[in-house]
Symmetry: C2
Subunit: 341 residues, 2 copies
């Protein structure tokens, strides 16, 4: 069994080592082949580890760093002064091939900038993209990208997102994924130049199963497997969906627990409803991948709890097993060849 | 009592006269001062009217037109060939001051283009914007604009949206509304040039109560009264919210009606939950206003049912009573004066 090593930015995210350390230890029990490198201040990490009792200490290591990148740091200043930070070191461990993937819940802009600078982009890719799989109404998944790595893009970049998303989804689905562009209407005349130009490129690309425009209210209806948009739109789409889902779940819980009788009745007859709705919340998943790099980088929510960090580590392991960067690279080569001919 | 006349594009929307005619008649019973002009093909409208039995026929008129604008017509071709269509005539009735407002569920691009061409923009406004009030978690409202009238805008236009939204919300709230810009993060460094440049303009404008950036998951949390964004982002945000809300309501209904016992129990203890969640669905309202024109134009959902059309007519009457265009004009003058000094 080949060892898979994941470098975890143990200082990143809103709660830091308080949850990253127990999450790392728990993830070890899921994959016997997993090793985790906790990257961060050892004077903080060691006490957290020691409170956990016994753990397979040959499969968990600490890589000491003194500094952290703050959420408020500008990407430009991060690039100049990243040496010695936990995020930079976690990425460097992937670059040095000591780890096969890294996971961080820190500053998204910094993570994208540093990953790009240290790991480099795949040939043919101009910008990395953040992608995540959202649950659809019938228990399937839809991969949405970009979720906020790029606040403005051109049609070429959006086209590359479609190629990358398609390669990622194909590894899960084992069939040619249906690829759509998020737009304000389904008709060809709708939308801005960005989506129209990208649609024209995708229509001409036979190796991508392009199905047309899709509106945001159809996103969870299993009408497409991959949906592409710029990072501003994708971020708003995801957060608006999470906002409504959380609001509805909150009100549901409030009504169900309004009295002992209701709580009792709800538990008997509506527990499956509650768990079904929780499953449908786009917020439930964690671990957006940064696609387009020569290495695997998983961005965890800043506010992720222990389960969410474990999910991000699971996603990292799956991407290593599926060799996502080389799959994307292969797919890109096919598409670029097709476009040249 | 001053008469208020609303011109209704009776052919617009997915269901046409089948629902616009009964909606118009029912709206008359809500406002004794209301007159409705049904604009469309009289050979279709008269039979629909005659099936309704008695109605105050001195308060309902038919303005005959032969043609309609299709949903798939390009705005550019609509502009050249709009004469004799129900939408064009409904707008013209406002231009001629025969009606004080018009309502249409037809092609959004055509409605915007024709309204702008016939009614003209208010001085200081470069683009009209579609705005709607969404329900917040605590029963308040948040006005979101633009919802899709402009798929790309500059910072000046976005600034004008903030001024218009603020004037509209102030008429409802009777206090200075909290104005925010929709962005991918709350920190000043987040976002694209559009939102950063607009933020700088709003920060310098004392007559607008600008509170900063807001993320899409906070939209329904009553943290702002007015939220501005470009029409592409606004449309995706609204539709993503509606999509999740409808999906959740659908699953809730499915579970509640899964057996007779459940339906009985649900009716007894969860009927208020269901109506509360329905109230929270952004889809429940109808009647987005096209702001920035020298007249009142209300866009109804294409798929609006009878109640939704009535809501759009109610919104038109309220805007006439509140003299929305002149309020916006006054507010703009104040802001422009402030920016000159």
């Amino acid at each position: 069994m080949r060892t898979i090593t994941v470098a975890l930015d143990a200082m990143g995210g809103d709660f830091g080592p308080h949850i990253t350390v127990p999450a790392a230890v728990q993830a070890l029990s899921i994959f016997p082949e997993l090793k985790v490198i906790l990257v961060g201040d050892e004077s903080v990490l060691i006490p957290h580890l020691s409170t956990l009792g016994s753990y397979p200490n040959d499969r968990i290591h600490i890589e000491h760093t003194d500094r952290v990148i703050a959420d408020t740091d500008k990407p430009s200043s991060v690039m100049r002064r990243s040496a010695g930070t936990s995020m930079r070191r976690a990425i460097d461990l992937v670059e040095e091939q000591t780890a096969q993937a890294c996971v961080s819940g820190g500053n998204t802009g910094a993570l994208m900038g540093l990953s790009r600078y240290r790991l480099k982009l795949l040939p043919g890719i101009e910008r990395p993209a953040l992608v995540s799989a959202l649950p659809t109404r019938n228990g399937e998944k839809v991969w949405l990208l970009d979720l906020g790595a790029n606040v403005s893009v051109n049609a070429n970049t959006l086209f590359q997102f479609a190629v990358m998303g398609s390669a990622l989804a194909e590894e899960h689905l084992h069939r040619s994924p249906r690829v759509a562009i998020l737009n304000v209407g389904e008709e060809d005349i709708k939308g801005n130049d960005l989506v129209k130009d990208c649609a024209e490129m995708l229509q001409k690309t036979e190796s991508i199963n392009y199905i047309g425009f899709i509106e945001a209210d159809q996103l969870l209806q299993d009408e497409a497997d991959v949906v592409v948009c710029d990072g501003f739109v994708g971020n708003v789409c995801l957060k608006a969906s999470e906002g409504v889902a959380n609001l509805f779940l909150d009100r549901l819980k409030h009504h169900m627990l309004a009295s002992k009788f209701r709580a009792w009745i709800s538990k008997i007859i509506f527990s499956e409803l509650f768990s079904e709705l929780k499953q449908l919340n786009p917020d439930q998943y964690n671990g957006a991948s940064l696609l387009g790099l020569r290495g695997i980088v998983i961005k965890s929510h800043g506010s992720a709890d222990k389960t969410a960090i474990i999910n991000a580590i699971i996603e990292a392991v799956h991407e290593v097993k599926r060799q996502v960067p080389s799959r994307i690279s292969d797919r890109l080569e096919t598409v670029l060849l097709e476009r040249q001919n």
